[in-house]
Amino acid sequence: MAIRVKSPGLLTTVQDTGRLGEYAIGMPPSGAMDVFSYQVGNYLVGNEEGAAGLEITYFGPELEFTEDAVVAVTGAQMPPKINGDEAPTWETLAVEAGDVLTFDYLQNGARSYLAVAGGIDVPVFMHSRSTYTLIGLGGHEGRALGEGDELALGEAGDRSDRVGMAVEEQQIPRYSKETELRVIIGLASYRLTEESMVEFLNTTWTVTPDADRVGYRYKGGELGFVEREQPAGAGADQANVVDFGYPVGSIQVPGGVEPIVLMNDAVTGGGYATIGTVISADRDKLAQTKTNDKTRFRSVDLEEALAAREERRKQMAEIKEALTRT
C-alpha cells in the first residue's frame, strides 16, 4: 500500500492507454480521456508508456502517501499542494511518507492526471488497468475511488534524480473556454440536410452538464434530417438507422437538437445516425472542455487528420526525449 484516499474528489479513476482491441464484443476502450497529458505525466516520472495513473475530474482528491514517491500532475490546471504548499504542474515532484497531496480549485481545463513512479498497481483485466465503471471492471474494484481506498504502486526503484524535471513552457497546452475540434464528416452524414450540415459547422455549441467519460452533449442549434421512408429494421424516427457501430469520437444527433460526441466509455453501437468523427489528435482537447464551454466543429479531410496525428506524435516524442536522462 502506498496511497490512502482520504477523500476521493468528484470523480477519480485509475486509467491507462485503454482496453484496445475489444471493440467487437462491445467493449469500449476506456483509458485516459486526455492521452497527451496522461502520457507526459508518465514521461516526467520515468514510467513505461502505459503505466496506470489517476484521472482527476473537476475537483481533486486528498491523497496520503504512506511511502516516499515521485509524482507529477499534468492536464487541467488544478494546482497541487503538498501538505498545503502549492507545487508546480507539468513538473516532477517528490513526496515523502506521510505527505498529503491535495488539489486547489480548477482554474482551467477539466481533467488532471496524477502519474506516480512505478504506476498505480491495480489488477490487469483484459490487458488494461483502465476503469470501466458501467459494468464495474478494471481499475480499483471497477469503480471510481472512494474514501478509505488504498492503492499500491508498482516497483520504481530510486527515481529521486528526476525531481525538478519539467516540461518546457511552450509544450504545455493552454486550455480555453472556446475550443475548435476538427472532424471528418462522414458515416451516415447523408441523413442530415445540406443546410443542417452547414449549420452544424457554423454553430458555436455549448457543452451541456451531460459531459463525461461516456460522451459530451452540446446545445445551441437545431439540425434536420432528410425525409425518407424509413428502411426495414431502422425504426420509425428520422434520426434512426439500422443499428450500426459507433467509432470513438463519432457524433450523433438523436433528436436533431443536441449533438453528442461519444468518448472512451461510450456504447459501441446503436441506432442513431452519426454524422462525423472528431479526429484522434483533438480528443485530448475535447477532454479538457467542460459544461458551458463553447465548441466549434471544423471539417477537415483525412490528410489533415493524419498530419495532426503525426504532429502530436512528434511533439510527444520530443517531450519524452527531453525528459530522458542519459
Binding site: G26, L134, L137, Y190, A232, A234, G235, V242, P247
Partner: protein, 301 residues
C-alpha cells in the same frame, strides 16, 4: 440490362470514422442477405490478418474496422475491402461455421413487467403492455399469436455491442414475416439485466442493467456476459454470443426459470448448443424448411 436487380449488390458506402476507423455501410435497409454479406467480408478480412487492423466489427447492415493509421493507411484498407467485397460479397457458396443455441426466455415475467409499468409515461401506448402494443401494430390478433411468432423461428446474431456482450438478433423468416417495432418515445433509465427486448427489427438480450429504449417482452435466466468467467460457456471470453450464432429463443415457465437460475448461481449451467454449418442461400430460399432442419440439429439427438 441483362442482370436483374435482385442479383445486383447495392453500392457500399465507405467512410472514414475519423483517422482510426473505417466504416462501411453496405445498405440502409436490414435484410438477411446484407448481413450475410457483412459477415462474409469480415470473416475474410479476419483470415488475412492484415497488420494494423485492431478490431473487426461486423454489424447488421454494415461493418466497421478499427485500425492503427500509423501502420495501415485507411485508403489502403478500403482498397482491399473493395476487392474482398467483389470476391466474397455475393455470398455465393458462403458457408458459416457456427453454432445453434437454445436460449430460454420467460415471456411476461414479473421483473420486466414491473419495469415496463414503471416507465409507461415514456411509451407510445401507456394503456397497453409492450407486448400488447407490439402485437397490435404488427397486425396480430393477440399477444399470444405474437409471442408464438417470436418463439416459432430461430434468429441470427447479426451484431454484438452497445455494451459488452449484447447480441442483436434478426429472425430467420421471410421479409414479410419480420416483426418491426419502434423504440420507446423516451428511453428508460432502467432495464433489468438479461431482459429480452425488441427495437426496430431486432431482438436483444440486455447483457447488463442500465438505460434502454427497446420494448420489453421477457427475461432470460442465463447470462450473455460473465465478467468473472465462472460458467463453462465463458471460459474463453467474458461474452457468450458471437456474430453468426443461431439462437432459438424458447419460452419457459417460472419453474424452469428458477431451475436454470439455480444452475447459473451454482456455476453448473451450460447452454444447449450444437456446431452447425449454416448455408445462407438456403435460409434465403426456403427459410421455414431450413429452420425445421436447424431445430432438428439443436434438439434431436
Amino acid at each position: 440490362m441483362s442482370r436483374g436487380v435482385e442479383t445486383e449488390l447495392p453500392q457500399a458506402r465507405y467512410s472514414y470514422g475519423g483517422d482510426e476507423f473505417v466504416f462501411v455501410e453496405l445498405a440502409e435497409a436490414m435484410s438477411l442477405k446484407v448481413n450475410f454479406r457483412a459477415m462474409a467480408i469480415t470473416n475474410k478480412l479476419e483470415e488475412e490478418r492484415i497488420e494494423g487492423v485492431m478490431d473487426i466489427c461486423p454489424s447488421n447492415a454494415s461493418y466497421m474496422v478499427r485500425i492503427d493509421p500509423d501502420v495501415l493507411h485507411p485508403d489502403d484498407l478500403i482498397s482491399r475491402l473493395e476487392e474482398i467485397d467483389a470476391e466474397a460479397g455475393d455470398i455465393q457458396g458462403f458457408e458459416l461455421r457456427t453454432r445453434v443455441v437454445d436460449v430460454p426466455v420467460m415471456m411476461e415475467d414479473p421483473w420486466t413487467h414491473e419495469t415496463l409499468m414503471r416507465f409507461r409515461d415514456r411509451h407510445q401506448d401507456p394503456d397497453a403492455t409492450d407486448l400488447e402494443y407490439s402485437a397490435r401494430i404488427n397486425g396480430y390478433d393477440s399477444k399470444e399469436d405474437f409471442i408464438a411468432a417470436l418463439l416459432g423461428s430461430p434468429w441470427l446474431v447479426t451484431m454484438i455491442g452497445f455494451v459488452p456482450g449484447l447480441p442483436w438478433c434478426y429472425q430467420l423468416v421471410p421479409p414479410e414475416e419480420q416483426v418491426e417495432v419502434p423504440k420507446y418515445v423516451r428511453p428508460r433509465t432502467y432495464t433489468p439485466e438479461r431482459a429480452f427486448g425488441f427495437g426496430g427489427g431486432f431482438a436483444v438480450v440486455y447483457s447488463v442493467e442500465g438505460a434502454g429504449g427497446y420494448q420489453l417482452y421477457g427475461l432470460a435466466p442465463a447470462p450473455v456476459l460473465d465478467v468473472k468467467q465462472e460458467l463453462k460457456d465463458f471460459q474463453d471470453s467474458i461474452v457468450f454470443p458471437k456474430p453468426g450464432d443461431v439462437f432459438n429463443y424458447r419460452g419457459i415457465d417460472r419453474e424452469e426459470f428458477d431451475e436454470i437460475r439455480g444452475r447459473v448461481e451454482d456455476g453448473t449451467f451450460e447452454y444447449r448448443k450444437k456446431d452447425f454449418v449454416f448455408h445462407p442461400d438456403r435460409a434465403l430460399d426456403d427459410p421455414h424448411t431450413y429452420n425445421e432442419e436447424i431445430l432438428g440439429v439443436l434438439y434431436g439427438d
